[in-house]
Symmetry: D2
Subunit: 339 residues, 4 copies
């Protein structure tokens, strides 16, 4: 960490700051320049509160040289982390497609969608049981019953399953779920992250609505530092001023993450855009940007079907999209399981 001190500052204040830094167990290398004094901090600076130092009156600027994340950092772990979920690999050149309905609604629905997406090439089944809803008056999901139906579909089709967990109090109910999803709204629910860090089950960590890439990696770090190395990152759009789409898919985040971390990175284009007709082009864009997989909403129910609606694709649309993805994967050096 490099701390630049303002010109003409009281040397006593500077000394006090140096002593405070040394008190944290760090070394300090002082370099006096014409216009400023530069402090180079030596040692493990991940404990230093950069926000605090930056706002001190005598400080002109602070620059991290080390990233504050360690377990997630590609510098210390150059090879891709490969996470195996029931024989399907995330990372290391594999490309996975997670698909399924927004919410689990009935046994018939979840099994039919599962069979349809499996036929088209999906390898993991998604389905919401506990739903985070802006309104307390909206349908909050089937809860534990939804998880049971999802597990039935797993049995029926052999597909591993993923579902969102919203509170550490539900952890026992998720026994048998293959990937635990942390939603955007809970990306900084630190108590939940720590609890998931004490499991070994893979965690799919969605980016918070307005989280920076660094904050997102720090949330992965919360899970990893407790002992669970199996974190999959999922870009799902960020909040910007543009309202045409529900969120703005931050496509640049993919190559940046692939450079900064060894963790697998996938994209959820359904939630990013909120519009089913944008899902195919955004999926192909994600392939081009270097993603390790996709998570797609697919429905088979008449309510959605009638209007060809919302953010979910019909099974036949999903099928067509997977064929286009297969044409593009060789250009980025990636492959699907059976290819």
């Amino acid at each position: 960490m490099i701390v630049v001190i303002k010109k003409d500052k009281d040397p006593k204040q500077v000394d006090s700051l140096i002593n405070w830094i040394k008190g944290l167990g760090l070394g300090v290398h002082v370099s006096e320049g014409e216009n400023s004094t530069v402090l180079g901090l030596i040692g493990d600076t991940s404990k230093v509160d950069i926000g605090l130092v930056r706002t001190l009156d005598i400080v002109e600027s602070v620059t991290r040289v080390q990233e504050p994340y360690k377990n997630a950092n590609r510098k210390f772990h150059p090879a891709d982390t490969v996470i195996d979920v029931g024989g399907h690999k995330f990372g290391g050149g594999s490309f996975q497609i997670i698909a399924g309905p927004c919410s689990v609604e009935s046994e018939r629905q979840i099994i039919e969608v599962a069979q349809a997406v499996k036929r088209a090439g999906a390898t993991i089944l998604r389905g919401g049981a506990f739903k985070p809803r802006t309104s307390p008056y909206a349908f909050q999901g089937l809860g534990v019953d939804g998880l049971k139906l999802l597990k039935k579909a797993k049995q029926e089709t052999g597909m591993p399953i993923i579902s969102e967990i919203m509170s550490e109090e539900h952890i026992d109910d998720f026994e048998g779920v293959d990937i635990l999803q942390v939603g955007a709204r809970n990306m900084q629910n630190f108590d939940l992250l720590k609890r998931l860090g004490r499991l070994k089950t893979p965690v799919l960590l969605k980016r918070g609505l307005a989280a920076t890439i660094e904050e997102w990696l720090m949330s992965a770090e919360y899970i990893m530092s407790e002992g669970n190395p199996n974190v999959i990152l999922c870009e799902r759009g960020i909040r910007t001023y543009e309202t045409y789409t529900r969120n703005t898919l931050d496509i640049s985040a993919i190559p940046i993450l692939k450079e900064r971390t060894h963790l697998p990175v996938i994209v959820d284009p359904s939630h990013a855009s909120g519009l089913s007709r944008l899902v195919p082009p955004l999926s192909l864009a994600s392939v081009g940007a270097g993603a390790d997989g996709l998570m797609i909403e697919v429905h088979n129910d008449p309510v959605h079907a009638l209007c060809d609606g919302a953010q979910s694709l019909r099974p036949d649309q999903f099928d067509g999209m997977v064929k286009a993805i297969d044409m593009m994967l060789p250009a980025v050096g990636k492959h699907r399981d059976d290819k």
Copy 2:
């Protein structure tokens, strides 16, 4: 709710949509225009998923006529909610100042700061025990021990106390805390909100980092719909592209909230800006905008003092600021307890 259907749409699809709406227990008034068909939904539309309807292929646009919040809505509760905390009133023309250190560090620290801010006019003591930190390696607060010290300061000074709660699992430890604070990162931790809704203790609900005003009121609604009417809203800055300040204080949110809801609204200028020298002007701006109070960080410890630093004021600076606030309050028709 007004749903505008696109021109030249298949009447069968429109009929299906109308049937689906009626299935939710709502009436539908259909008005055929030259360029579009307009559906007027009659009844309690708070259950309708506006996001779903908006993204249907046959729908041009959807407009809510009713706000989706009821308990928090000033339309149904025109008079200000007044929340009494140990004899100090939030709302109804009263102006309260909450002050104290960012974190509780020691018995001596918290008691000294409490006495200093009480002398200057603060009526409620703040102090962090559980600290939400971006990094798992940063100091996470004294936890339960911090709460004990805060309660000791309450005993010593007679000031009611407020502290942040991060998980429903800690609820018993907060017995004796007068206001439970929900931080920006947990504004949509719905399980926590529901749990706090089953208490009667006042809840201070901070705005999420990128929450709209409507989403914020819907989170208040989560608490209120479970039975707890005592919610205080606290604006603390939103995330924008401007990086000079840590967050951008959304000063317009104050008059908008005062119009839309009967709940008291206060401002936290310390976290909004992250710079102590901006706290006085932003506090005076909040008074001008019509806020019902402020929450201010004040420190007395040598680490901060040495550098006159960060987002905390020194007691003497706090004292000067309160004097300027007292000069301004008559212009907005507000008063402090003892004035």
Copy 3:
């Protein structure tokens, strides 16, 4: 346009509003509902100031049914506009690559880069002569001399050329330039747009730093409504809170624009990210999203070369990227000129 009137409003005010609308030459269809009155405006509503109506006290909401852009609207012009620039087509299934240095610096530099990018498959040569710079103290480009060197490179290589125009006062100097570029900062310089609308030369219109898609199309409309139908849209990233990249490439804008307008849409990944190593993945993502072309910075000069730097690729990196693009184009049904 649908105007929803608030409940219980003074009928006199509503009548006055209706009369005002009729005074604009529009018809009004009034529909009385239980909770609100809905006005349907009939006729050409593009003259109505939606912002003004929306903020009237008696108005609950206003919704456009017609988009405010006409010439640019795909509804009224379903087929792709195809713009021919020296035999190279933008739109209609063709894919063009514009390449060249950020600034024209010398005859040798611009000719060498032109030859290198032409060999790799670029069809149009870019080169900045007038440079919009945040600081008045920074190099402002070679100006008219830069344009002359660019024209020399056109003569030498046969490539059509594109350069940015910053003021209507320079229009004569751009005689012989094949595409006139309007930069992000001038997207709403309406006097400049109107002036370019009176030419027939193709205009490449970059998206403003914080422009919505609709505002961007309205700026295209300024050019088209004056008589110039040859507008190419260029997405170049928008300003968001994420600072890792200089701007956030709004990849979703591409499929949205392809749906809303018949104009060709290309992407500038160099300026969007500001990082040369992100240019290849973002270019492939743009292909996947359905773009009609790319504009890429390529350099051959030692200052950049030494550090492998900034947002410009080296010719050999550019060459490798074009090969990957060629592998992906069939998946999106697009082709390059000679393929």
Copy 4:
């Protein structure tokens, strides 16, 4: 400027960078640390393209120690700039209120509004003649005729006048206008800024829709570096994700600007919010934050009056607001002309 070089970088590349910096006429102080090499640049670094250096592959980070603006910088000009407009002072403890209609519409309208706002305490008359409109089909203002009517109102009332200039081609028409306004959309129309810099007439420079505070000051620098020191900055809201208000008033910008620059800073709450009922609270907030004045829209015409609408106040509302401002000014040590 402090440049931190990444660890383990090729010394040849580092030497090349150092030589390039020296080639710009700057000195370089090299400090070798354990984890990084730090270059301190000595001399006038305002010419260095920080964006370019930051994106070089060998560079970890770049930090400016000097701000890139000089003429506008309070460090080099500690006393407030005081700009006298017809005897009314901006800066130095004075508080000015500019008021008038959005657009000049008729002689009677502009004179009646002028008289009304003058009575209530406004000192400068505003009125739009050239209107920047998103749509080419919207009313573009009365143009030159509007300016003539505004000058007539000046003659009639003795109030100095301000109006927006959109192109350097109109400069002669603005002879007799006391303050030239540059709108948000033209904040980085550098040709226009340079042209205004060659006059002595005060320029009111609005903040761009998504401009950082530094970019805004750099635009002021464009005007000042050409020789015109009379720049008044006007905060008018920035674009964020919150859509309740048209823009988000960045109230923190006021104290930051007062610290960074000696130029006067005023606020336009009418355009910031787009809602007339927010104008009074945002005006009082601006007083609290330390603004040197306000620019307010006031109307007297029946179209607006009927609906009590949009972003303009009625004269009697304006009058009430000025009285509240007068109650608050002593708390911030400011005064109006005649007080």
